[in-house]
């Protein structure tokens, strides 16, 4: 256990020289990412942001190991970390109930199965546990995806605009839920969003990518306490300081 704790304290290192997409239908080869280098301290909440189409999601997929076609080196910090990925769409299995979706993401006979009811309650899905995902609302599906990600007790949590296409109050509710879950069990988070308010409210550090053959142009610490983050005016003020807008 002690060895594991120590191992998780290694930083995550990204040294990406180049990521290109092959030419398609008359379009030339496209360089989406170039010279992206950064380190992430364990248990920090890093937000990747930038104009749409700048390659944020591509970068996240590469770090998470979903996209292996790139030039460079990714070091997740230790051997095989537990990883969760919360996608832009919930990506639940529609033919399995909410509860089955969560339990299938754990190995058979894993002790974490005992925590499913607890986590369902934390995300407010106790009533909907036996429902099929498509018979619930999008907000509920997103909460199920959060529960599936958190039950893993991941070393690294990847999130790719997990709250887009939700109305404001629902998205804000889910952000608070995420903050609560993260405070209870801090873990390394890489969070992609184009929403600056969301970036400041959630992140401890914000990396900004430039448009076109993106690399990192800004790297800012977010100077907010946990209490500050619940205060809208303080979040907005910090957003002004960082983004100067």
């Amino acid at each position: 256990m002690a060895a594991l704790e120590k191992a998780t304290l290694d930083p995550l290192r990204v040294e990406l020289q180049r990521k290109t997409f092959p030419p398609v239908g008359g379009r030339d080869e496209l360089t989406v990412l170039q010279n992206v280098r950064f380190e992430v301290k364990p248990r920090s909440f890093v937000v990747l942001t930038g104009p749409s189409g700048c390659g944020k999601s591509t970068l996240l997929n590469i770090i998470a190991g979903l996209d292996k076609d790139y030039e460079g080196r990714i070091d997740l910090g230790h051997g095989t970390p537990r990883v969760s990925f919360i996608f832009q769409t919930p990506r639940l299995l529609p033919w399995r109930t909410v509860r089955e979706n969560i339990s299938l993401a754990l190995p058979d006979g894993d002790p974490r199965h005992a925590r499913i009811d607890e986590i369902l309650e934390q995300v407010g899905l106790t009533q909907a546990a036996t429902a099929y995902p498509e018979r619930t609302s999008l907000g509920m599906q997103r909460r199920a995806a959060l529960a599936r990600g958190f039950i893993q007790e991941p070393d690294i949590l990847f999130m790719d605009e997990p709250f887009v296409s939700l109305d404001d109050p629902t998205a804000q509710g889910l952000r608070e839920l995420l903050t609560g879950l993260w405070n209870r069990r801090p873990t390394t988070v890489l969070f992609v969003t184009h929403d600056r308010y969301e970036a400041v409210m959630l992140g401890t550090r914000i990396l900004r990518l430039s448009a076109g053959s993106a690399s990192i142009i800004h790297d800012d610490e977010v100077r907010l306490t946990a209490a500050d983050r619940t205060d809208r005016t303080k979040v907005v003020a910090e957003q002004r300081r960082i983004f100067q807008d």
């Binding site: 979903l66 969760s84 996608f87 990506r91 033919w95 190995p107 498509e134």
Partner: protein, 270 residues
């Protein structure tokens, strides 16, 4: 008619009630339409008054006569056995070919024209060639029918394989599903609707071809053999009696097995 606009788990009993009401209504329509058909048939037979167009009662008499001597059951059973064998072979071989082609871009490009060739090859040609090459055995009969059906199944399963969600595959990869779990919970549920559709359209096709095979192959049993014999003496009541009896058998399989199966694989849908 009352309908649940926003189906959710809490309105499930209401859904069931609506569904059973709809089911009764559909049954009513089916019965009315069948009764009209039989009435028109009786009327036409009465007007023509020829032994080449027997009325429903005359045909029904033949069914009862053949059933009571047990001859009907022997032939129905023989045909049903061939249908089952050919159907099973076609479903599994067709699915395997379809999945292979649909999941491999090169195989897809290469075998596409072969599929089109086999889809357009007349059933009669396949049957004739099979009998010439492999002799008139039971195995040949089943093979000939299966070859007729395999391209259809393959085409439908190819669509299924092509439409497999990359999103869900990535999800399974992130959460370490492994091969078996991915197959069982991610891949097969996505293919099931295609398979069920292929099965339903396949059953009708297979039994029609089995009759042709039985008639051509000189088999001593089967509905096709009986119809072929009756054709020799222009015994129309006999032809219609066997055809109707087998339609009933196929409909029992359709409603008793295939439709419940399809409902089951689709029960999660909104």
């Amino acid at each position: 008619m009352a309908r649940a606009l926003t189906p959710s788990s809490s309105t499930l009993p209401a859904r069931k009630a609506v569904e059973s009401g709809a089911w009764a209504e559909r049954l009513g329509w089916t019965l009315a339409s069948l009764a009209t058909f039989v009435a028109l048939w009786a009327l036409a037979a009465e007007m023509v008054g020829s032994r080449h167009l027997p009325g429903p009662i005359a045909v029904f008499d033949v069914v009862v006569r053949e059933a009571s001597t047990g001859v009907l059951w022997t032939h129905l059973f023989a045909t049903l056995l061939r249908v089952t064998a050919a159907f099973t072979v076609a479903m599994f071989v067709g699915a395997a070919i379809g999945l292979l082609i649909g999941s491999n871009r090169f195989a897809d490009r290469f075998f596409d024209s072969w599929l089109i060739l086999f889809l357009n090859l007349p059933a009669l040609v396949i049957i004739a060639l099979c009998y010439v090459w492999f002799g008139t055995t039971e195995l040949t009969a089943i093979l000939a029918v299966a070859i007729n059906k395999i391209p259809n199944v393959a085409v439908q399963m190819r669509e299924g394989a092509r439409s497999l969600s990359k999103d869900l595959t990535e999800m399974a990869q992130i959460y370490g599903f492994g091969k078996w779990k991915t197959l069982r919970h991610v891949v097969i549920p996505q293919l099931a609707p295609f398979w069920a559709a292929a099965a339903r359209s396949g059953l009708a096709l297979v039994w029609k071809i089995v009759l042709v095979v039985e008639a051509l192959g000189g088999h001593s049993t089967g509905v096709g053999h009986q119809i072929h014999t009756a054709f020799g003496s222009y015994d129309v009541p006999q032809i219609l009696a066997y055809a109707l009896a087998f339609i009933v058998v196929i409909q029992i399989v359709e409603f008793g097995v295939l439709q419940p199966l399809q409902a089951r694989v689709n029960k999660w849908r909104r």
